[in-house]
Symmetry: C2
Subunit: 413 residues, 2 copies
C-alpha cells in the first residue's frame, strides 16, 4: 500500500515554518508497513488542494492531510474536503460536547462561535476524536482511497496518529513489514566508505536497499528491507550488517534506530553507575540540552557550567589565569583545565569541555574562526584535541557537539 | 512567476530526515519576488522523478530540485535530468579541476573515480560552481520552464542559492516585491485574538493577506502583500500594522522577521550595556544554547549554570538546603534563590532561573509533571511565577523557554 502526505498551509510555502509533520507521519506509517510515495505541500487555496487530492488519489491508496483545520478564516481544509466528496458540513454532537468541556476545564477564555464551528465535519466523515485539542480528525473513503485529515499542530497530530489512525489502518489492511537499520559512522567520507565496502554493496540481495547519508563528519548507512514475513526481513538485514561491521569497525559508532549517541552514552553511564558534567563555552549549553532532552537523564547528568565569558572560566571553573595568558583561551590546555574544573566542582566521574571560536568575529581569543578544542575527563585521565570546523557558526557548534559526544562515548565502559 | 520545489531522497519519504531545504529555498525565493506554488518530495526513483518534473513544468516557470547528486549509487538525479532533456552526460573540465583542488587541499583522502564522476553533467546544462563541495549545481531551460538542480547538503545548497541562483534569477526575470511581516504575541488564544480584531480583519484591503500561526502559548499573526511597487507594498502592510497594534498591545512582543526574541533581548542588553546569566534546571542548557546561537552573544551573555542535580543548586548556586526542604526543589522560592545565586556568581545584571519537572516520572521533587517555576532577577528586584505546562517533556521545556524569555524581555529597558 502506497501513501501520500499532503500538508496544507501558506506558512510552509513561504518558508516560515519547516514541515516536521511529514517526517513524523512517514516514519510512523513505515513502522506499520505503509510506504510513502510522495509528500506534497500546498497553499491554503481551494483549487490547489482539490488538484492535490485528485493527483494523490491516482497514486495512493492512503492520503493523509495535515493543516487547515483551525478556527480562523484562513483555514479551508474542511470545506474543501466537503467539495471533493460532494458533501455538506454537519455539526457533530460528540465534538461539540468535547469542545465545551475543554473550554470550561482548561482554556477558561470565552467560548466563541468560531470555536464551536470546529465541530462542523463533512457528513460522510468518520470523526477521529482529538483529545489534545478542538479540531477533530476525519476519515473519509471512496472506492480506491482512504483520506485522513489531521490538525497541523504537531502535538495534536501525533496523538491522533497514535490513538486513532495507526490502529485503524493496521486493522483494516493487511500490511507488510518494513525494516530500516542505520549504521552510524564517524571519521571517513562517504566515497571512501563506499569504495571500501563496494564488493559487499554489489553483492547485496535485491531485497536489501542501501543509502548513504553524510552529515557534518558523520556518515550514516541505511539498510532497508520489506516483506510479509517479519523473520525473513529481520534475517536479511541482520546477515548484511554482520558482513558489513568488520569492514568499518574503525569508524562504527552504533545504530541510529536504537538510540541517539546521547542515549547510548546515557545507558553506558547508568550501567557503570557513573555521572557526567559539562563545561561549555562555544557550544553554549547545547550538549546539556541534548542530554536533558532524554527522560531519565537525572540518573547520570549532574549539570554543567556554561562558561561563555572568560571570567567564568577562571572564577567558576578555576582555570588558572596564567594558563589562559600563556596558551590563549581557545587551547587544549584550557579545555583540559575546564573539564577537570567542572569534574571537581560537580563531583562527576566524566566531564566534557568545549572552548572555541564559532565566529563570525574573533572574540576573546586570537584563535581563527572555526577552531575548537574539546577535552574529555574520565576517572583515569584527561585528554583533549584541537579541531578546525570551517567558517559557519551553526555548523561549527554542531560539529563540536557531534565530536565531543563521539570522543566521550569511546571512553565509557 | 510561480516556482515548485522538488526534494529527492528516500530519507525524506521514510521520515529519517526532516526536509529543511524547502523552507530555506521558499523563504529566499519569496525575498526576490517568486512565490512557491508547491513543494514535492519524491523517492530516489527514475520514473517518479520524471513524473514530478513533468507535473512541475505544467504548473511552474521555475523548478528547483535538491538532492540525489552524491557520488554513491543511490544518487540518480543527474541521469534522470539527462533523460528528461533527452541529453547525455559530459565531463566538465572546470568541475574536474575544482574536485582535484578540494581533494588535494581539504579532504586529503584518496580521490576515487566516483568523486571525479561528480564532474559529469548533462551537455545542455549550465554549470553552477559549488565552492563548498564537489557536486555542481545545474541550470537547464526549455521553452516554458527553468530547472535548477542543487545538492541536498544544506550548507552547499545555501551557498549555491546565494552565490548563483538568486542573483541569476533576479537578473533574468522581472520580479514583483513580496513582503511578509509577522507580529509575535504571547498570552491569548488565536480565536480570542481573532474575535478581538475581527473588524480590522474584515476591512483588510484585498492586497493584504492575514494568517494565524499558533504555537505553544504564542500566536503569530502574519500579514503578506505583493506588488511591483515596493513603496506601495510597504505602505499597505505598515498601515494595517499601525491599526492592529493598539488592539493587541497587552500581548504584543515584537516582529518575527526583524529578530527572534533572543535577538530582541540581546539588542536591549547591548543598548543598556548590561549582561545576562542563566541557571537552568529543567531546561538543561536550552536557554543558553538559544542565546549563544546568535553571533555577538558574548557582548551580553556571560554564561550559566546547568543545575540539573539538586546538589548543584546548593553547592554551586548557593541555594540554602533548608529552603529546598521547606518549599521543595520545584518552587518559586528555589527559582528565585537560583536566579540570585547565578546573578551573584556570574556578576551579571540580569538572570533567568528555571526549575521544574518535565517528566515522565516525578524525579527529585514532589511536583507534578509539568510544573515549572521561573524566576527573573534584575538589577532592582527578583520575581517568580509557577506554571503548569502539560504532560509532554519536550513541550514542557519549550514552553518554559518561551515563557522565561517573554518574562525577561519585559524587564529590560
Amino acid at each position: 500500500m502506497n501513501a501520500e502526505i499532503i500538508t496544507i498551509g501558506d506558512e510552509i510555502l513561504i518558508g516560515q515554518i519547516v514541515d516536521t509533520n511529514s517526517a513524523y507521519i512517514a516514519k510512523e506509517l513505515n513502522k506499520i508497513g505503509i510506504s510513502v510515495f510522495q509528500i506534497t505541500s500546498v497553499q491554503d487555496d481551494k483549487k490547489h488542494i482539490l488538484e492535490a487530492l485528485e493527483n494523490a488519489q491516482n497514486h495512493a491508496g492512503l492520503v493523509i492531510l495535515t493543516g487547515g483545520l483551525g478556527p480562523t478564516k484562513d483555514d479551508i481544509t474542511k470545506t474543501t474536503l466537503a467539495d471533493y466528496f460532494e458533501d455538506t458540513l454537519v455539526r457533530n454532537k460528540e465534538v461539540v460536547a468535547h469542545i465545551k468541556h475543554i473550554w470550561k476545564t482548561y482554556i477558561k477564555q470565552p467560548l466563541l462561535q468560531v470555536n464551536l464551528d470546529q465541530a462542523l465535519v463533512p457528513s460522510k466523515a468518520k470523526v477521529l476524536m482529538n483529545q489534545s485539542g478542538s479540531a477533530p480528525g476525519m476519515w473519509m473513503e471512496n472506492n480506491t482511497t482512504v483520506f485522513i485529515s489531521l490538525p497541523g499542530v504537531p502535538f495534536e497530530m501525533k496523538a491522533l496518529m497514535q490513538n486513532e489512525v495507526l490502529p485503524r489502518l493496521s486493522k483494516q489492511f493487511e500490511l507488510p513489514f518494513i525494516l530500516h537499520k542505520t549504521v552510524l559512522t564517524y571519521g571517513l567520507g562517504e566515497s571512501v566508505i563506499a569504495d571500501r565496502i563496494s564488493e559487499w554493496e554489489n553483492n547485496l540481495p535485491k531485497s536489501v536497499k542501501l543509502a548513504y547519508l553524510p552529515n557534518l563528519g558523520r556518515v550514516r548507512l541505511r539498510l532497508s528491507s520489506k516483506g510479509y514475513d517479519k523473520a525473513v526481513v529481520y534475517k536479511s538485514i541482520h546477515n548484511e550488517i554482520e558482513k558489513l561491521l568488520p569492514q568499518i569497525s574503525d569508524v562504527f559508532v552504533g545504530f541510529e534506530e536504537e538510540s541517539s549517541i546521547e542515549q547510548i552514552i546515557g545507558n553506558q553511564l547508568i550501567k557503570s553507575n557513573t555521572t557526567l558534567a559539562v563545561a561549555e563555552s562555544c557550544t553554549g549549553g547545547r550538549i546539556g540540552a541534548q542530554f536533558t532532552a532524554n527522560p531519565g537523564a537525572s540518573a547520570y547528568f549532574k549539570g554543567g557550567v556554561i562558561a561563555y565569558d572568560t571570567t567564568i572560566k577562571t572564577q567558576v571553573l578555576g582555570v588558572d589565569k596564567p594558563l589562559i595568558e600563556t596558551h590563549s583561551v581557545v587551547s587544549t590546555e584550557v579545555a583540559e583545565a575546564m573539564a577537570l574544573g567542572v569534574q571537581k566542582l560537580y563531583n562527576s566521574d566524566y566531564a566534557i569541555a568545549t572552548t572555541g571560536n564559532a565566529g563570525p568575529s574573533k572574540g576573546d581569543s586570537d584563535a581563527e574562526v572555526g577552531t575548537v578544542c574539546i577535552a574529555i575527563a574520565t576517572p583515569h585521565r584527561v585528554f583533549s584535541k584541537q579541531f578546525t570546523f570551517g567558517k559557519h557558526r551553526e555548523r561549527i557548534t554542531t560539529k563540536a557537539v557531534h565530536m565531543a559526544l563521539t570522543l566521550l562515548q569511546k571512553e565509557i565502559f
